[in-house]
């Protein structure tokens, strides 16, 4: 698979390539000390770059085409997954997937946005941009989870709800609004995990829950930096500034109480080591569900409503 290398990853990749070359030709040559030196350099460079990521760089990592998507996590961390299709009204939206599964000892209904990895699969998945039937499928599955007392796990990764003509005809706004309303009062635990891009209402449409987790290199905001730039700066060129202004990274959102927990990624991002990322996330999910499953339904719903009611800052 051809790997995508981001601009700021280039110095690291170049140095690593050099290191590999030296290792290959090191037979018989006495260059071990030089290799050690470069290894040290790679390590320092990585730490330097990844500990000081700008907000825009994190947006790029969140969109990295090699990053694990919902189905990757489902295959890595669940057992007995049965995918369920369709909203029972119109059709099956391929940009949102969901189904029954087990994670550790927990039965779950797992639902998430699904992007494609190449042109063909991206067209199939509509680039992870759901239509109303996607939100309605998600709601159908959540209602089923409620009926059978199974907790819901949702994974958010979308560049937005699809802004198409037919999406409007079928009530994109109503579909999202309905989910916000119904998820607020669903009588089973809802664990929300932002695994990539959390673009506005399209993300929030499956994002109301008891605990909101966010992987380290994701973004979550009301608008993408590019669209924000085009509206407020009247040019597409100010995306870096817009990303800074929007404060859309996990470390920004934790103190604002938009999220409850940051899930660490492997050094360099989730795409560098899928299995390590999967393992970390699996343990976190099990830990969170252990806690949530002990809370009574009424109390769960009340604290969920209270939790969202408390978000926001005003001056009186």
């Amino acid at each position: 698979m051809a790997k995508t290398i981001l601009d700021f990853e280039k110095p690291i990749v170049e140095l690593e390539d050099k290191l590999n070359e030296m290792r290959k030709m090191s037979d018989g040559l006495n260059i071990d000390s030089e290799i050690k030196l470069i290894e040290e350099k790679v390590k320092n460079l990585k730490e330097d770059i990844y500990k000081n990521l700008t907000r825009w760089q994190r947006v790029q990592l969140a969109r990295h085409p090699d990053r694990p998507y919902t189905l990757d996590y489902i295959y890595m961390i669940t057992e007995n997954f049965t995918e369920l299709h369709g909203d029972r009204y119109f059709k099956d939206d391929k940009a949102i997937v969901g189904g029954l599964a087990k994670i550790g000892n927990h039965k779950v209904m797992i639902i998430g946005h699904q992007k494609g990895r190449d042109t063909k699969s991206n067209v199939y998945r509509n680039f992870g941009m759901p239509n109303p039937e996607g939100y309605r499928k998600a709601l159908r599955l959540m209602k089923m989870a409620e009926k059978f007392h199974i907790p819901v796990v949702t994974m958010l990764d979308t560049p937005g709800a699809f802004p198409g003509l037919e999406a409007e005809e079928r009530g994109q706004a109503e579909a999202i609004a309905r989910n916000l309303f119904e998820m607020s009062k669903l009588k089973v635990p809802i664990l929300v995990i932002i695994i990539g891009e959390g673009a506005s209402g399209g993300a929030l449409g499956i994002g109301v829950g008891d605990r909101i987790l966010m992987l380290e290199n994701c973004w979550y905001s009301v608008i993408s930096p590019e669209s924000c730039s085009s509206i407020l700066w009247r040019s597409w060129e100010y995306k870096e500034q817009a990303a800074e202004a929007l404060k859309l990274t996990a470390p920004d959102l934790l103190p604002l109480k938009v999220i409850d927990r940051i899930v660490p990624e492997p050094l360099g991002g989730a795409h560098k080591n899928h299995s390590e990322m999967g393992e970390v996330l699996k343990n976190v999910i099990i830990e969170e569900l252990n806690t949530l499953s002990k809370i009574k339904a009424d109390k769960l719903v009340q604290s969920r409503i209270d939790k969202f009611s408390a978000i926001g800052e005003v001056v009186e």
Binding site: A161, K185, L232, A245, L246
Partner: protein
């Protein structure tokens, strides 16, 4: 000198279209049929065109006068204002934008909330103002609606919200987004008490506002020819690469597609709400 206020040409975009705004000259030309009306005449006609019924865009002050019994409105949280939680800055500081808008409009944010009476029936009432940063929803709009719903629940009042909004406010980032969840969550409390919620959508209602409380009314009533949608027309046009059909995303289209109960002329609005409330309460 022209004897009615001319509109500046070529400076409007679809997003900042002010052609529906309340005129501030003495005379105004109807943008739809070119009829020229005196401001007093327009006011008596509830800011709708005497000839073609075009609905001019009006603010919360006017809607309070139109819908609530005289002097019955008691505003709550009047001076609540934005805390600029992100210290947001684009080409301007958000805090400066807020201060300038407060000065210009005499409003503190994009919604007025309170209690009042509609044909002697007590109601919880909120009305947005497009004139305040495009009627955008940030923490203040979310918190004021949230408290209004609390008040409705506590005093067993039906809720009436008039939406007029470009969507969630960019300058408060994810906090604005969360107001969608917050207001929707609060509405579940109202629903649990079987208190009616009447959502009135006016021109324009788009984005996060539509995708939360505006679409969650037990009844959704639209003013004629209002733009109501999730994505804005410009974005949709870019997506599909062709012009949008005539009337797309207008009130009449939404009724046809099944997302709005009915359209009401502004003159009939109070009577229509009263009829519904007399059955639901």
């Amino acid at each position: 000198m022209s004897w009615f206020k001319r509109k500046k040409e070529n400076i409007v975009t679809e997003d900042s279209d002010r052609s529906h705004d309340l005129p501030d000259g003495l005379w105004e030309k109807c943008p739809s049929c070119d009829e020229i009306m005196h401001k007093k005449q327009l006011e008596t006609n509830l800011w709708t065109c005497v000839k073609c019924s075009f609905h001019f865009r009006i603010g919360s002050e006017q809607y309070i006068k139109i819908l609530l019994d005289e002097d019955s409105f008691k505003e709550i949280d009047k001076k609540m204002r934005s805390a600029d939680p992100l210290k947001f800055e684009d080409t301007k500081k958000y805090s400066d934008r807020i201060n300038a808008t407060i000065k210009k409009t005499g409003l503190y944010d994009a919604i007025k909330t309170g209690t009042g009476k509609l044909n002697s029936k007590p109601v919880a009432f909120g009305c947005m103002d497009f004139g305040f940063i495009g009627g955008s929803m940030g923490s203040v709009v979310g918190e004021k609606i949230s408290r209004l719903i609390d008040k409705a629940c506590k005093n067993n009042l039906p809720l009436i919200l008039i939406s007029q909004s470009g969507g969630a406010r960019m300058m408060e980032g994810a906090l604005s987004l969360m107001q969608m969840a917050k207001t929707s969550a609060k509405l579940t409390n109202l629903a649990a008490k079987s208190l009616p919620y009447i959502s009135i959508v006016t021109d324009p209602t788009t984005g996060g506002t539509t995708a939360s409380y505006a679409m969650l009314g037990d009844l959704i009533i639209a003013e004629p020819k209002a733009l109501i949608g999730f994505a804005g027309p410009r974005v949709i046009k870019q997506t599909i690469g062709r012009d949008l059909p005539e009337g797309f995303q207008k009130s009449e289209f939404l009724v046809e597609k099944g997302f709005v109960d009915f359209i009401s002329h502004r003159k009939e609005l109070k009577n229509n709400i009263n009829n519904v409330l007399s059955i639901l309460t």
